[in-house]
């Protein structure tokens, strides 16, 4: 059976959920061979084996942390040369997309980014994508070389499928451009204790109607009652009420959770682009004419300062 390379997104050996989703999709096309790089690479093996990786290729070197992107491209290319896979899958993170693009160019292959589904096809893997602020769904494939495809988080339910997960060390020689961009310092983001925005099953977002940074506490309280991530519209971020890393929309994150709760968000195209593919959408807004109500499964026309705290209390009491 053909092998499929899966690029592993991990933090010091802890595998992030989108990688497990990739393994689930990779098994539709062939046998997953995982590539884990950097500090803790070998520690990823157990989780990867549990989800179908037949092999885990690992490499660690200071270059992976000290220089931007290119050392990882060099390593993934080494894995590509060693395995000759039927496809290469990566998560749709900012960094992994850049790695994917440079690899695709080097190996003379087409690239598809931000797939939301993947199926085996007669002419190679067929990727489903959302286009034009999710108003279109397209089916695409790579027509030259080995398909390089990045997949958005939450595109598929993770399935366990135990496999050997044999760890092999990957020999990497770094290219001349590997040390071009130096990482002078790295400040890890402070953990909020909430799920990662793009990976969360539930997202609670606040917009212009929240009317102030301090008022985001009621959005956070609802999120915490549901175990959800917190999002914000561009208006709220531009006003300085919430960090840009939490922005949902065209210039922020694109999310596709099971449940999206929009509070005080009108639903401009810019925002819809980032949340339209959510499974269930709920909104609270004072303005009955707000475009967000065209998208919702359930909407409440009312003051979010009344509705949201009441909802939070109700969730808490029902969860007991």
């Amino acid at each position: 059976m053909a092998e499929v390379l899966v690029y592993v997104d991990h933090v010091d050996g802890a595998v992030r959920k989108p990688t497990l989703e990739l393994l689930t999709l990779a098994r539709r096309i062939g046998e997953p061979v995982a590539v884990a790089l950097g500090n803790g690479a070998a520690d990823t093996a157990a989780a990867l084996a549990e989800h179908g990786a037949v092999k885990v290729l690992t490499a660690d070197a200071p270059e992976f942390a000290d220089y931007l992107v290119v050392p990882k491209v060099d390593a993934l290319q080494a894995a590509y040369d060693a395995v000759s896979p039927a496809a290469v899958l990566l998560p749709s993170s900012a960094e992994a997309k850049e790695i994917a693009a440079r690899l695709a160019l080097r190996i003379g292959s087409g690239i598809i980014t931000d797939a939301v589904d993947l199926e085996a096809g007669d002419q190679g893997p067929v990727a489903t994508q959302s286009a034009f602020a999710a108003s279109y769904t397209t089916k695409s494939r790579v027509s030259k070389g080995t398909p390089v495809i990045t997949v958005k988080p939450n595109s598929v339910a993770v399935e366990a499928a135990p496999a050997a997960g044999a760890v092999e060390s990957l020999a990497v020689s770094f290219s001349a451009t590997a040390t071009g961009t130096k990482v002078l310092s790295r400040t890890p983001r402070e953990s909020t204790g909430r799920p990662e925005l793009t990976e969360a099953a539930i997202v609670v977002s606040g917009g212009r109607g929240v009317n102030g940074a301090e008022n985001f506490a009621i959005i956070e309280a609802l999120a915490d009652s549901l175990g959800a991530a917190v999002g914000a519209s561009r208006a709220a971020v531009d006003a300085g009420w919430y960090p840009h890393t939490n922005q949902v929309g065209q210039t922020g994150k694109s999310v596709s959770p099971q449940l999206y709760i929009a509070s005080g968000i009108s639903g401009a195209i810019q925002h819809r682009a980032g949340m339209q593919t959510s499974k269930t959408i709920v909104a609270v807004n004072k303005d009955a004419e707000a475009p967000i109500f065209d998208l919702v499964d359930y909407g409440v026309v009312g003051d979010l300062f009344d509705v949201v705290p009441q909802l939070t209390d109700e969730v808490k009491s029902r969860k007991g």
Partner: protein, 261 residues
């Protein structure tokens, strides 16, 4: 010596308009207004600020696109860029990101550069990989997705805010940079700027000028194929209630019914 900055910009369909696919599954440009991609305005802005700080700098804006794409160049010139290069050729219709990176790389090399600045992504294709491809093609450092950027002598520095960490980056020129929408609001063209832009030079190049064969680009030279594009069905109308004091509880009831609570 003059700092040569090339800003790559894209002419895109207005995201607030009704965007469609044409019969050949490329972008339908006929039924929607085009404009300079909003995210590229940030690139033009940072180029202007870097040029202000430098002793001597020249900003060239570069685009690949049909005749109308000149509008995007004019906008950038009216913001303050010095000159423009427009790569236009009928054979470019349907070019994918790999092909576009080839055309831009050749045009950047022909123009001459110390620093290439791009936006973080286009507002139509939204892939966000072009700057990385350009760096790979040019064989120069990639310093991308910066929220802050500065050039000092032959060095570019910047801050890249990622999901898990914020990184301070540094590279020697020449380099390819991309900037995010957090890098600083783009200026509006002044009346004077708009008038001055009309007199600024716009050089037109075609594939032959760049020594690119027609089969390396266009729909035929694309390394990806779109097999179908379907309009997403409108979401079925949901239940809308007016809050009469029980709105939060009603919403909780709905969520419980959907097994979210």
């Amino acid at each position: 010596m003059s700092l040569r900055i090339v800003v790559c910009v894209k002419y895109v369909p207005d995201a607030t308009g009704d965007r469609h696919f044409a019969d050949d599954l490329t972008l339908d440009r006929d039924d929607v207004d085009g404009l300079l991609s909003e995210l590229d305005e940030y690139a033009v802005e940072q180029a202007l600020q870097i040029a202000d700080e430098a002793d001597d700098a020249e900003i060239t804006v570069l685009t690949v696109g049909p005749e109308d794409a000149k509008d995007a160049l004019r906008k950038a010139l009216s913001m303050g860029a010095d000159k423009a290069v427009h790569v236009e050729d009928d054979d470019l219709h349907g070019t994918d990101v790999i092909g576009t990176s080839l055309v831009l790389a050749k045009a950047v090399e022909k123009t001459g550069y110390d620093l290439v600045i791009c936006g973080m992504a286009s507002t139509d294709g939204t892939m966000g990989v072009l700057p990385a491809l350009l760096a790979e093609r040019l064989g120069v450092p990639q310093v991308t997705l910066l929220s802050e950027v500065s050039v000092d002598g032959g060095t570019v520095k910047g801050r890249r805010d990622g999901d898990s960490a914020s990184e301070q980056l540094e590279a020697s020129l020449p380099a390819v940079v991309s900037v995010t929408d957090q890098s600083g609001e783009a200026r509006y063209p002044s009346f004077k700027g708009i008038m001055a832009a009309k007199k600024k030079p716009v050089e037109s190049l075609d594939l032959e000028d760049l020594e690119i064969e027609a089969d390396e680009v266009g729909l035929g030279g694309s390394w990806t194929a779109v097999d179908s594009a379907a309009e997403r069905p409108a979401r079925t109308a949901g239940t809308i209630v007016k809050d009469e004091g029980e709105g939060g509880k009603q919403l909780a009831e709905f969520l419980a019914g959907q097994k979210f609570i």
